[in-house]
C-alpha cells in the first residue's frame, strides 16, 4: 500500500486515474466495482486449458514452416541477462551476439531486443548503436517488486534516462493476492506515465499467481492500466511461461482487442529453452490470436539459452546434419 504509507510518492494530479478504454471505462471507479468486474470474467477450466495446449503441442512443424518458424523466433527474442554478476563487459558481449547471433551466417536475423537491469541499459544502448535492436530494462524493484512506490518509479526513470526504450515492470503480487486490485492497477498506470515514450511490458509473475483464473484477472488489470505488453514471468520463479498460462494470456489479449480495438503484445519468459518450446508458442499464437501477433512488435520471447538452440536447429536445417555446442557462441 505504498501510496498510503508514502503520501508524497506521487503528486496529486498523477493520482487521477487514467480511465480504461470503453466499454470498461467505469470498472475502475472503486475497489468493489473493479473486484466485481475481475471476478465476473469467465473462469478457466485448468484441465480443459491443459488439454487444448496438449493437442496444439502435437502440431508437426517441418521443413519450410520450421525454417520460417526458427527465423521468426530468432527475430522475436529479447536476449536477456539479469544476473547480480552482470558487468558492462558481459552486456557488450550480449549486444554483439544480439546483432549477429550466428557469426558463421550473416543471413541469420538479429534479435528483437536486449534485456538488462536498468543500470546497464546505457551500456546496451551504446553497444547496439543504430542496429534497430531495442533496449529493454527491467525495473520496479525487479524481480520481487517489494519496494516503495517512489523507489519503483525512480527505478523506471533511471532506466529510461539511461536509454532503455522498453521497460519490463513487475506487478505487486502481494497486493494482488490480498485482493487489492485497484492498487495493482494504479501502480501500473503510474509506471506507464514514468515510462514516457518507452513501451511498457507488465510482468504478472504467473508462477506466484498460481491459478489460471488469477492469470486471467491479472492480465486484464495490466491491459486496462495501459500496458503495451503483458509478460508471464521474471524468469526467477518456477514455473514460469507454461503453455496453459500463455494460452490464457493470449485469450486475454484477443478478447481485449475484440472489445476495445486496442492490440496488446504478449511475452512469455522463463522456461523456454528449446526450439520445440518456441515453436509450440508460435503455434499457440497462430491458432489462438492469429497472425497479427506473429511479429516482434507484438510478441517476444524472454530467453537466454533459447537463442543457441534456435541457432543449432537452424544450422541443422541448412546443413542437413545435427550441430553441436562448438558451432554456437557462448554469450
Amino acid at each position: 500500500m505504498t501510496h498510503l504509507l508514502d503520501p508524497d510518492a506521487l503528486p496529486d494530479d498523477a493520482r487521477a486515474l487514467m480511465a480504461p478504454l470503453p466499454p470498461y471505462d467505469d470498472v475502475t471507479r472503486s475497489d468493489s466495482a473493479f473486484r466485481a468486474f475481475l471476478h465476473g470474467l469467465p473462469g478457466v477450466d485448468q484441465v480443459g486449458a491443459e488439454a487444448r495446449v496438449g493437442v496444439l503441442g502435437t502440431r508437426s512443424i517441418k521443413t519450410t514452416s520450421k525454417a520460417w518458424a526458427i527465423d521468426t523466433a530468432i527475430s522475436m527474442v529479447d536476449l536477456t541477462t539479469l544476473e547480480g554478476a552482470d558487468t558492462p563487459g558481459k552486456v557488450r558481449s550480449l549486444a554483439a551476439k544480439a546483432r549477429r547471433p550466428d557469426p558463421g551466417d550473416p543471413g541469420c536475423p538479429s534479435v528483437a531486443a536486449v534485456c538488462v537491469y536498468g543500470d546497464l541499459a546505457g551500456v546496451a544502448r551504446e553497444a547496439l548503436g543504430d542496429s534497430g535492436i531495442h533496449v529493454a530494462a527491467v525495473a520496479t524493484a525487479f524481480p520481487s517488486g517489494r519496494a516503495s512506490r517512489a523507489v519503483k518509479i525512480a527505478d523506471v526513470e533511471d532506466a529510461v534516462a539511461n536509454g532503455a526504450d522498453e521497460i519490463d515492470m513487475v506487478i505487486d503480487r502481494g497486493a494482488f493476492l490480498t485482493g487489492r486490485y485497484l492498487d495493482v492497477f494504479e501502480e501500473i498506470v503510474a509506471v506507464k506515465e514514468a515510462c514516457g515514450d518507452a513501451h511498457l511490458k507488465v510482468i504478472l509473475e504467473t508462477g506466484e499467481l498460481v491459478t489460471l483464473d488469477n492469470v486471467r484477472r491479472a492480465s486484464w488489470i495490466a491491459m486496462l492500466a495501459g500496458g503495451d505488453f503483458i509478460k508471464t514471468s521474471t524468469g526467477k520463479v518456477n514455473p514460469a511461461a507454461t503453455l496453459p498460462v500463455s494460452l490464457v494470456m493470449l485469450e486475454a489479449v484477443r478478447d481485449f482487442r475484440a472489445a476495445t480495438g486496442r492490440q496488446i503484445g504478449f511475452k512469455p519468459a522463463g522456461g523456454i529453452r528449446t526450439t520445440k518450446d518456441a515453436i509450440k508458442h508460435l503455434v499457440l499464437i497462430n491458432e489462438t490470436v492469429g497472425a497479427d501477433w506473429l511479429d516482434p512488435d507484438w510478441f517476444r520471447f524472454g530467453a537466454s539459452s533459447l537463442l543457441n538452440d534456435l541457432l543449432l536447429q537452424r544450422q541443422k536445417l541448412r546443413t542437413g546434419h545435427y550441430s553441436g555446442p562448438d558451432y554456437v557462441t557462448v554469450d
Binding site: 469467465p42 473462469g43 478457466v44 477450466d45 484441465v47 480443459g48 486449458a49 488439454a51 487444448r52 493437442v55 502435437t58 502440431r59 508437426s60 512443424i61 517441418k62 521443413t63 519450410t64 514452416s65 520450421k66 520460417w68 518458424a69 485469450e251 508460435l282 503455434v283 499464437i285 497462430n286 491458432e287 490470436v289 492469429g290 497472425a291 497479427d292 506473429l294 511479429d295
Partner: protein, 485 residues
C-alpha cells in the same frame, strides 16, 4: 477467421509415412487361428480420403459363420473355458503389449481405412484400445472381487458386431471383456473398415492365443445377421445404428441369447452462462467435430443459455475457422474424411433438410480435396426442438444450436429425445453440475469436458441408445451368467 493483414503461419505438409503398413492384396477370414478363404463374395475396402482401393476382403457366408461359431465353441469347451484364469490374464496382457508395440502400424492402417486423422488414431484410438486389453487382462483372475457374485461363469460364445467409426477401439471394447470373463468370440467388423481387425488377428497369432478363441469374419449386413442369428451363440453384443439394433433385438427374442446394444445418440451439450467459456467452446468443438462427428455420443445439439448465445456462437465460429480439414495421414489434420459415400449422402440430405426447415447454416471457408468423401464442419443456428436436425442423428460434423433460459428448460430439452446416450454440462458451479447430471436421462454425463473415455469408466445409453454398459466393473456383467445387464 482473423481479420489479419499478415500471412498466417502456414504448416508445411507433415505426412505420416504409409510404409509402416503392409496391406496384402486380399484377405481371408480368421477362423480357428488361421486365415482361410471365405465362400461368400469378396468386396473391396476403400480409402475414403482418396477413393483408392486398399484391398479385397472376403465376405463370410452362412457356412463360414457356421465354421467360425463351431471353432469358437470348441475353443470355449476344450481350451478357454477350462483354462486357469491367470493364464487367460497373461494372454490378454500379451495382446495389450503387442498393440502397444505395433501401435504406429495400427494407427496408420486405421486412418487409411477409416479416414480419421492420424493424430486421433495415434493419440486416442490405439492407446485406448491397448488400455482396454490391459485393464481387462487384470480382471480375468479377479472376477470374484467384481461385485457380481461369487465364482462368476462365462456365457460361452459371443457374437459381436461392431461399427466403422472406431474400428479397432470398438473391437477392443468387445473382445477384451469377453475374453477376460472366459468367453470366446466371433467378431464381425464393419464392412467399410475391416483392416485393423484383420491386423488384430495377426496380433492374436503373435500372442499364441489358442485357435478359435477369437474369430474374425468380415462381411456386410448379411454376414452380421448370420453371426447374430446363429443358434450356437450364447451372447450377442452390437454397436451400430438404432434400426439394426432393433432388428437384432427382435431376432434374439425368445432365445437364450443375452443381448447388449450400443446404438445412436443425439446428445445435448448444455452451456450455462457461468461456463468457462473458452474451454466450453473447445468442448463444443470436440463434442461434434472429433472423429468427423462419427460418434454415437457426439454432442450434436448445443443447448446454450440464451443470454450468452451470440458470444458463444461468435467464439465458436472463430475457433472452427482454425480447424484443419484434409489428408488423414497429415499429422496436422484435425478433421478427416467422411467414412463412405453412403454416409456422406446421408449427411448432405439431413443438412439440406435443416436449411429447408428454416435453420441458418454456417460453414467456414474450406478447401476440400476433389477425390474422396468430404464435408466441412457445419453449424446450424436457430434450430428448434421440432426440427429434424434437432432430433435425427446425422452422424457427421453438423452441430444444431438451440437455446434455453433456465436450468429446468435445459433439462427438458436435453431429455426430449428418444435417445439417451450422453450429455454435456458446462458450468463452474459444482452443485449445479451435480443437480443437472442427476436429472439428465443419459448414460454418460460429461461435465466441463466431452468425449472422454477410459476402460475403467462404464459407457452405455438410456432409452433407444441401447442397454448394457461397456467398461469398468459394470461392463463385465454382460458376459457372465446370472447378471442380467
Amino acid at each position: 477467421m482473423t481479420s489479419s493483414t499478415k500471412a498466417p503461419f502456414e504448416y508445411a505438409p507433415a505426412p505420416e509415412s504409409r510404409s509402416i503398413v503392409d496391406i496384402a492384396p486380399s484377405y481371408g477370414l480368421f477362423i480357428d487361428g488361421e486365415f482361410v478363404d471365405g465362400t461368400g463374395e469378396a468386396f473391396k475396402s476403400v480409402n475414403p480420403a482418396t477413393e483408392e482401393v486398399l484391398t479385397e476382403v472376403s465376405a463370410g457366408s452362412e457356412a463360414d459363420v457356421d465354421r467360425a461359431v463351431a471353432a469358437a465353441r470348441r475353443a470355449f469347451t476344450r481350451v478357454w473355458g477350462p483354462m486357469r484364469p491367470a493364464d487367460r490374464s497373461k494372454y490378454l496382457f500379451r495382446i495389450a503389449r503387442l498393440l502397444q508395440e505395433r501401435s504406429r502400424e495400427f494407427a496408420v492402417l486405421e486412418s487409411l481405412d477409416n479416414g480419421k486423422p492420424i493424430r486421433e488414431s495415434r493419440d486416442v484410438d490405439v492407446p485406448l484400445a491397448a488400455a482396454h486389453f490391459f485393464y481387462h487382462a487384470g480382471w480375468a483372475d479377479k472376477l470374484d472381487h467384481a461385485g457380481l457374485g461369487p465364482g462368476p461363469r462365462p456365457l460361452g460364445v459371443a457374437a459381436q458386431v461392431i461399427p466403422w467409426n472406431f474400428p479397432l477401439l470398438m473391437l477392443a471394447w468387445k473382445v477384451a471383456p469377453a475374453l477376460a470373463t472366459g468367453n470366446t468370440v466371433v467378431l464381425k467388423p464393419a464392412e467399410t473398415t475391416p483392416l485393423t481387425a484383420l491386423l488384430f488377428a495377426e496380433v492374436c497369432r503373435q500372442a499364441d492365443l489358442p485357435p478359435g478363441v477369437v474369430n474374425i469374419v468380415t462381411g456386410a449386413g448379411d454376414t452380421g445377421r448370420a453371426v447374430v442369428e446363429h443358434d450356437d451363440v450364447d451372447k450377442v453384443a452390437f454397436t451400430g445404428s438404432t434400426d439394426v439394433g432393433k432388428q437384432i433385438a427382435r431376432a434374439v427374442a425368445g432365445t437364450r441369447k443375452k443381448l447388449t446394444l450400443e446404438l445412436g445418440g443425439k446428445a445435448a451439450n448444455i452451456v450455462f452462462d457461468d461456463a468457462p467459456i473458452d474451454q466450453a467452446v473447445e468442448g463444443i468443438v470436440q463434442g461434434i467435430f472429433f472423429n468427423q462427428g462419427h460418434v454415437c455420443c457426439a454432442g450434436s445439439r448445443l443447448l446454450v443459455q440464451e443470454s450468452i448465445h451470440d458470444e458463444v456462437i461468435a467464439s465458436l465460429q472463430r475457433r472452427i475457422g482454425t480447424l484443419r480439414v484434409g489428408d488423414p495421414l497429415d499429422k496436422n489434420t484435425d478433421i478427416g474424411a467422411i467414412n463412405s459415400a453412403e454416409q456422406l449422402a446421408r449427411i448432405r440430405e439431413l443438412s439440406d433438410y435443416g436449411e429447408a426447415e428454416g435453420a441458418t447454416r454456417w460453414q467456414p471457408a474450406c478447401d476440400l480435396p476433389e477425390r474422396g468423401f468430404w464435408f466441412p464442419p457445419t453449424v446450424f443456428t436457430g434450430v428448434s426442438p421440432a426440427h429434424r436436425i434437432a432430433r435425427d442423428e446425422v452422424f457427421g460434423p453438423v452441430l444444431s444450436v438451440l437455446t434455453f433460459r433456465t436450468p429446468d428448460e435445459a433439462v427438458a430439452k436435453a431429455n426430449n429425445s428418444t435417445y439417451g446416450l450422453s450429455a454435456g454440462i458446462w458450468s463452474e458451479k459444482g452443485s449445479r453440475i451435480l443437480k443437472i447430471a442427476n436429472q439428465l436421462r443419459a448414460g454418460v454425463v460429461w461435465a466441463n469436458t466431452f468425449n472422454k473415455f477410459d476402460p475403467t469408466s462404464p459407457f452405455g445409453g438410456y432409452k433407444q441408445s441401447g442397454y448394457g454398459r461397456e467398461g469398468g466393473r459394470h461392463g463385465l456383467a454382460a458376459y457372465l451368467k446370472g447378471n442380467d445387464a
